[in-house]
Amino acid sequence: MVFLSEPVRIVERKPVPNNATMLNGLPDVGLVGLIATSHMITQLKMGEVAYVDSELLPPVVVLHEGLPYAPLRIFGNGGLVATLSEAAIPAKAVQPIMKKLVEWGQSKRVKLMVSMGGMPVQDRQDIAEPKVYGAASNQALLKTLSDKGIEILSGGFMVGPYALIMRYCAERNVPAIALLAQSFYNYPDPEAAAATIREFGKITGMQVDVSKLVESGEDIRLKARDVMKRTEQELNRMKKTQEYDLPLYV
């Protein structure tokens, strides 16, 4: 495909701090990252600093109190920036957008890129407290995760936006971790989101109260149905279920 302009551009509306921690809340299994990041943005009163514009994204705006906004935006407050997508990202757009987000993060010299998400498990409804697993872009960060008591995802496949963020960060030496909580595959999972926020606090020292998130879990699940449904369609296109596959190591 030939693009007359850049396929993905990040439009900054306000000054973005350097050396911040960058959080990614993108629609994926259980909408874990999206719910967690959205909660953190509200709790930390983060404002929009930039948005992602791309001809690969559907012609959608989200209205908040009557005003139009891009569905994929970047919020900031002090030493934290957070990417949040309120709409499912089309499978074909995931690769160029993730690449651009990592390039942008690198240009802002982010000190740590954190992707919070879910890891689908069977019988999730039998798990009272979802366990959070970690992945990292380098050996030192793996050790940090282990030291904080987070079990490492040592093998298997990662598929989707966070898989690409980890790969591009590793290629470009951008420090990155993924915190993945046991979750439902195709049902919104606020409890898993709360579990990732708790672990995020342990790693970064940035504590965010999750009591409201847990209390309003049922309302969030009700509101998140349509985004979950469209996200599932895109996850199917990305062959997300490959995460269940057993890898071949000879």
Binding site: R124, Q125, F184, Y187, D219, R221, L222, R225, K229
Partner: protein, 149 residues
């Protein structure tokens, strides 16, 4: 695509691309006919998220029913291959709660119908409701056994 790259692609890659394009097209066409809002103001119903998993010996149907009253959940076979799930909500929900003010209506029920792709024994159905998720287990009907010699 450059000529060199095109030459490197095998016949299998090309067939695989065509199959994928065809699958995407049929998916889009199906969606054009079936896509509709996940709510219905006339019947005051919200359609819950629902999924069907076919295992070797059973079919597992699950539905996400947040804010529902467990005592009101009903599972019914409405045709040979269709299961209907209904539940009353603990409280009515209005569009305003979703941040939408240009639509009017309130919802008191969950309702969905789901297609069961293989024959099941509905009489041996088992249900469980945990963490707001309804799980329905339907044993598959067995055919005849072939003797292995």
């Amino acid at each position: 695509m450059s000529e060199t790259r095109r030459k490197r692609r095998s016949l299998f890659d090309l067939i695989s691309d065509y199959v994928e394009d065809f699958e995407n097209l049929s998916e889009e066409m199906e969606r054009a006919f079936t896509e509709r809002p996940s709510w219905d103001t006339r019947s005051c119903c919200i359609e819950p998220l629902c999924s069907v998993f076919v295992a070797a010996d059973e079919v597992v149907v699950t539905a996400d029913l947040p804010n529902s009253n467990p005592d009101t959940i009903k599972v019914e076979q409405v045709s040979e291959d269709t299961l209907e799930i209904r539940a009353e909500m603990k409280r009515k929900v209005r569009f305003e709660e979703f941040g939408i003010t240009h639509r009017k209506g309130e919802f008191s029920f969950f309702r969905c119908q789901t297609h069961i792709p293989v024959a099941v024994d509905i009489k041996r159905m088992k249900t469980q409701f945990k963490r707001g998720i309804l799980e329905v287990r339907l044993p598959r009907k067995r055919g005849y056994r072939v003797k292995v010699e």
